[in-house]
Symmetry: C2
Subunit: 173 residues, 2 copies
DNA sequence: CCGAATATGTCAGTGTTGTTGACATATATG
DNA sequence: CATATATGTCAACAACACTGACATATTCGG
């Protein structure tokens, strides 16, 4: 059922255009994760460890609830992975200062090193794709990808890290 | 280690640009798969079933080896999922004509209906993102995404379905 | 201050999806 | 005919998700 809301832009979208979008996401994600997965396997970790390490590195001092909101998994799932990372010395937990129920997470030096190693591969792949496609394509890529993300997360993802206040918890009713 | 091959395009890539690329892929894939996953759960299937149904619908008559090459999983993993789909009447297997060792796969009417239902959600999401971003952005999106895919699969993904000879012997015109 | 809500953690059980390794059958091919 | 290929199957295992129940510490509102 083609969603042809006539008030909006009319961009003629063939079924093949949409199908290609689906497949691009499948193949790109498949290949984007393959190499880090292989590295992780060598040290007995999996993709879930990578995600946790990545986002703790991205938002130092993030608390557990915020990390759960990003990953969209249950606390029991995260707990297993996070516990392992803490026990093996990749992540530190410190009690929050303003709210002492919170555990603020950060990478140890070892954790930061692993994060760099894993992400380096992905950065290289992205850099190569960006260079091959050119700056205008990169801008288009961003616009489309943002449009694929749930509306409630778009702002957060698009925000520059400097501008992004580390996810401060606006506690509401 | 910034991959600054000086002979290529120089597109100034900040660390944030690459980081954003990583995150766009994570968030977009997370949200792109969430709704189909919920639907699949209701009928006792998972994402792996979706993938199999999708690609069998995409390449009617595809054989097992070709499907394995796309999914990049082991035959034992595929076998479990495929067997279930066959037993429950979503996929048909027919012996190949030119090579009778092969099992050519296709969707039953029930399988095609499920495929449409699952993909409709993803098509809608892609269509919305494409419309919001505009045609130029869509072209950029494609270029970057293709660049992220392993070189050996780029041609196949980019090929129009009409132009794409269904991977092997086009038994079905 | 007290009770409710919140942030986090843990135990136990379950399901999907991936893996490896070994082995079986049918068919194709040189 | 011997070997390679396409597929299937059995068994064991691991990663990572889930639900449900319960525990503890802390914050917050009335």
């Amino acid at each position: 059922m083609p969603d042809l809301r006539p008030g909006l832009q009319h961009l003629y979208l063939r079924d093949e255009d949409l199908r290609l979008g689906i497949e691009l996401l499948f193949y790109a994600y498949r290949d984007f994760t393959a190499e880090p997965d292989r590295m992780l396997e060598e040290i007995g970790f999996g993709r879930a460890h990578h995600r946790a390490i990545y986002f703790v590195g991205r938002y130092p001092g993030i608390n557990v609830g915020e990390l759960l909101a990003i990953l969209r998994i249950t606390k029991q799932s995260l707990s297993r992975v996070l516990g392992e990372l803490v026990r093996k010395g990749y992540i530190l937990q410190r009690q929050g200062t303003s709210d002492r129920r919170q555990r603020r997470l950060e990478l140890t030096e070892q954790g930061a090193a692993l994060e760099r190693k894993l992400s380096e591969n992905q950065r290289r792949r992205i850099a190569a794709a960006y260079r091959a496609a050119g700056p205008a394509a990169v801008e288009g890529f961003r616009r489309v990808m943002l449009g694929l993300i749930d509306e409630r997360d778009r702002r957060k993802v698009a925000a520059e890290p400097a501008k992004a206040p580390p996810l401060a918890t606006p506690r509401r009713a």
